[in-house]
């Protein structure tokens, strides 16, 4: 069933349209930077962006940092929110379940397909970012950035390794949203409702992060450690927030997926 869901995801025109859309903003930014040569000051604007003017190989990271806070969650919420509700709305859910495909199996296959989508999207953004960065902003060595953060320089092998780690971390960061959208997707027959519900949760989380009074909640908010992948580029790597971020997403996945299973396995399918 996992293979079936993956093939469904990959054959859907929507998947590719979303990925194309995700690449638009970073590409436009790269073009603007190349043309105007006006980068933000170090410490301002999206992470890594101040460094890319001197080294285009860092642009994949800047691109990820740009799409991560908003565009990526929107894409994930749309795809995951559609997972069950979309099948219900199209009427294909009843035919899936009478093949029969077990309900728990279907949920897991859907989650795997969403994760595969996120990974695909992140990798494409990173690769396009690399190509665009090298072409428009040129190469160089990464010492400018890394010196800026922790005072020593990274070799290019280290840079590649850590970029791959960042790709994995960003993918994992999206799991909480994906699981929540999937949970909502089992409650409603409207894919839009499920996607918007998940986004509302994220917006609330982002708002609470800026509120001092919500300090006691902040370590548990799903968006809290999203940008911690920057810590991968310190020397030595600052693992604390990264580990916390991964664990937190794991907890969200377990809770939301468990709730989704509890709801879906006993639900009357009337669509």
């Amino acid at each position: 069933m996992i293979r079936v869901e993956l093939s469904k995801m990959l054959r859907r025109p929507r998947t590719w349209v979303i990925i194309l859309g995700l690449n638009l903003l970073p590409t436009v930014v790269a073009v603007l930077l190349a043309v105007t040569d006006l980068g933000p000051q170090p410490g301002e604007g999206p992470a890594f962006l101040s460094a890319v003017l001197t080294d285009g190989t860092l642009f994949p990271l800047a691109a990820l940092a740009m799409v991560l806070p908003l565009f990526m969650p929107v894409a994930v919420a749309v795809v995951a929110g559609d997972a069950v509700a979309g099948e219900a709305q199209a009427g294909t859910l009843r035919y899936l379940l009478t093949r029969p495909v077990g309900r728990a199996r279907l949920l897991v296959a859907k989650l795997v397909s969403v994760i595969a989508f996120v990974l695909l999207a992140v990798v494409v953004v990173a690769v396009v970012g690399y190509v665009v960065g090298r072409l428009l902003l040129g190469g160089g060595d990464a010492s400018a950035l890394v010196t800026g953060i922790s005072g020593s320089s990274l070799t290019s092998t280290q840079l590649v390794e850590r970029t791959l780690l960042a790709v994995v971390y960003v993918t994992l960061s999206m799991l909480g949203v994906a699981a929540l959208a999937l949970l909502l997707s089992t409650f409603t027959d409207s894919p839009l409702g499920a996607a918007l519900g998940a986004l509302a949760f994220l917006i609330a989380s982002t708002l609470l992060l800026t509120l001092d009074a919500a300090q006691s909640l902040q370590p548990y908010l799903p968006t809290r450690y999203w940008l911690s992948f920057v810590d991968l580029f310190r020397d030595p790597i600052l693992w604390r927030d990264i580990v916390r971020g991964v664990l937190l997403q794991g907890v969200y996945v377990v809770v939301f997926l468990g709730a989704a299973w509890a709801n879906f396995s006993t639900k009357d399918i009337t669509s």
Partner: protein, 307 residues
């Protein structure tokens, strides 16, 4: 053996009793017509048989095994078309069937290798041989209906559960669908056909169940339901003379058509002709399915019976 059997099957949605203790009995080899007005609980019942909706109480047995507990073993032997067909619009009809075929447990070893052949066969069978390579998005309702039936036939099911299968088909399509279903039935497939079209059921089915506001009010062989009533009808231009001649035996009079209490049409014709009454038509009066259904589902409050 029964293909489908339920005992006191009940489904309650909050305060609404959608299905009220019904005992369905579909025998192997039947073409069972499941009749009922919209909202009478037909679709809920069908969904319970397939494990989509969970019963509030009661037992279900499909092909000899309890549902929904044995869904994994039972459903691969059942083909379904529930409340209209559904498919992925951005794929072709053929791609939809291949995708559908790859879901769920495989029926037999090597079934994966024969997938292409199997999909081609069912497409041909429902008359979509050529249109199979077009995207479903461009299909008419009738074509989607055929594609849905093709999906139901993929595994050569022992039991077909079809909900309004002729919906959206033109008269030619209805005729082809009926022929296909009767052909399948002749090869041993049991068919449970839910419909609100009496004529369709009357033409195809061997057994009929009628659902009225969640209760199964009739369940019998169609032949029994339509058995002669002991009455005959006569159509004659000499209505007055016939009426006088048959004095007291005329049950109903409707223009030039008389309904007479007399099972023997031959004797009736002879006595009428002997009495100088011209006879245009004569025959045994049968109850139509419509009449059976109307009588069974008559609202008790309308005829002044209180319960």
């Amino acid at each position: 053996m029964s293909a489908v059997r339920t005992r006191a099957l009940t489904k309650r949605y909050g305060a609404v009793l959608a299905v009220d203790g019904i005992d369905l009995d579909v025998r192997e080899g039947d073409v069972y017509g499941f009749l009922g007005a919209n909202g009478s609980g037909k679709t809920t019942t069908v969904r319970m048989l397939l494990g989509l909706v969970l019963a509030t109480s009661g037992d279900i047995e499909v092909l000899g095994s309890p549902m929904p507990r044995s869904a994994g073993a039972v459903l691969p032997r059942v083909g379904t078309l529930v409340e209209g067909p559904a498919s992925y619009g951005h794929l072709t009809g053929r791609a939809n069937l291949r995708l559908f075929d790859s879901m769920g447990p495989a029926t037999s070893p090597g079934s994966r290798r024969r997938r292409k052949q199997r999909v081609d066969d069912v497409l041909e069978r429902v008359g979509l041989g050529v249109a199979g390579d077009r995207r479903v998005r461009g299909y008419s309702l009738g074509m989607r209906q055929r594609l849905g039936l093709a999906g139901a036939l993929l595994r050569e099911p022992e039991l077909l559960v079809l909900d309004e299968p002729t919906n959206g088909l033109d008269p030619q399509g209805i005729h082809e669908m009926r022929r296909l279903l009767l052909e399948l039935n002749a090869q041993g497939t049991t068919i449970l056909l839910s419909s609100h079209l009496l004529a369709e059921v009357e033409q195809m089915c061997t057994r009929v169940g009628v659902l009225d506001r969640g209760r199964l009010v009739v369940q019998d062989d169609l032949r029994v339901l339509q058995a002669p009533t002991g009455l005959s009808f006569v159509v004659t231009p000499d209505v007055e003379r016939a009426g006088a001649l048959l004095d007291g035996r005329v049950v109903r009079r409707d223009g030039r058509r008389l309904v007479v209490r007399e099972p023997d049409t031959a004797a009736l014709t002879r006595s009428l002709v002997a009495g100088d009454v011209r006879v245009q038509e004569v025959g045994p009066e049968r109850r139509g399915l419509e009449q059976v259904v109307l009588e069974a589902t008559a609202d008790p409050s309308n005829v002044g019976v209180s319960r």
